[in-house]
Subunit: 208 residues, 2 copies
DNA sequence: AGCATATTGTGAAATATTTCACAAGCCAAA
DNA sequence: TTTGGCTTGTGAAATATTTCACAATATGCT
């Protein structure tokens, strides 16, 4: 298991390299990648070497092979079934996000408890209530759940999703969620991002 | 300047402690905070000691004083003027997000180049085109820009925002953005989050 | 007052992550 | 085929971050 920071960088390298490929490039060096991302070439080489892929000394990395390795390690060759739990503004924005489908994520289940929404369709998928959520995710073989419900409701829907067999979650609710050992939950916390900026702004003001 | 990871943890501690305060608690220990967040008490103490605040041995931290310090260091006592650049689904979801206003972020400028949107109102604020963006942000004394335009347009609007004096940005466009020294840009990359999950899923599958 | 129990603050140790630096290998040109 | 200029891969060094461990000290009970 590669460490978290390495995986994040590999994902970004992959993007940059795919862009180079689209421009017709065949080879790329660690320095090229580093420059495009403001990293050190040394770090890029370490990260890539953790894939097992070998470059060619004096030349760099073969783009096609490198992308192959990256896609294979990063799990981007297969499609992944996703459940959207919470169909508010944010949830709808996510589903509509072009990168979502392009990268192989297919939304197969949308859950919301607003009676006005239940039964309606979003992006062609019928909105269902959270009743029997565990069974629903199990039946549809959902691999990833995206949680965009209000903070108070988050732990409960996560528990159901996990009971249904989901092991990968992306949580937008700004609360700490407890999951059993072996379940992976990532947090995207917009208030936290804003507050980070506030800190930096404040620091700047005080130390001017 | 505290390090990034420490600031992120302090923000979360602050939330947890405010919740305890709302429940009527007056004191909190590093162990309490650690337990609520699955961190070690030792880390919590180090983080808090980096604020300068001293707790009481044998007792813990005075919640009121600790929140004071946190709010002051984190810059949460003042309000911050925010510009939303890109008024798509995601941008609108952000502005409507309850945590946004509650934490002191006030949206004062909304920019979008869709002719259908220009002139219309979102949350009571008129949508304007990106024409003369630098001047607009300067005139309204915007401190923070939230970038939710498509990837291709991102660098350009960031350049204008920076020219207008903005030093803190939150970027949702999935591209590397270059900013001058001294300007702080944070990334929220939803595709990256999803791809991280894909990696973990894939790793699980291969190593079952 | 004395004792038992709790919790902080922080050097020092342990870990984790990044960068340096250079031998080894590849390529092109002469 | 030799030479010179690149670039990789990776030990080892340097940094950064986290955890340990324990003296110092506050509280409450007897």
């Amino acid at each position: 298991m590669l460490n978290k920071a390495t995986v994040e960088r590999l994902i970004i390298y992959n993007r940059v390299i795919k862009e180079l490929k689209a421009q017709g490039e065949k080879w790329v060096t660690s320095t090229d990648i580093a420059r495009a991302l403001s990293k050190t070439p040394s770090q890029v080489r370490r990260d890539i070497s953790s894939l097992g892929r070998k470059g060619k000394r004096g030349v760099g990395y073969n783009i096609k092979k490198l992308i192959n390795d990256l896609d294979s390690v990063l799990g981007l060759n297969d499609e992944h079934c996703v459940a959207l739990i919470g169909a508010g503004n944010l949830g709808r924005a996510l589903i509509g996000y072009p990168g979502f489908k392009r990268e192989g994520f297919i939304c197969r289940l949308i859950i919301d408890n607003d009676p006005e929404k239940i039964g309606s369709k979003i992006s062609g998928i019928k909105v269902e209530s959270s009743e029997g959520l565990a069974k629903k995710v199990a039946r549809k073989k959902i691999a990833i759940a995206v949680i965009t419900v209000p903070a108070e409701a988050a732990q409960k829907v996560v528990d159901s999703a996990v009971a249904g067999g989901i092991k990968e979650l992306l949580n937008f609710a700004p609360v700490k969620i407890y999951v059993p050992e072996g379940v992976n939950i990532r947090y995207v916390d917009l208030a936290l991002e804003m507050e980070n900026l506030a800190y930096s702004l404040n620091y700047r003001k005080k130390n001017k």
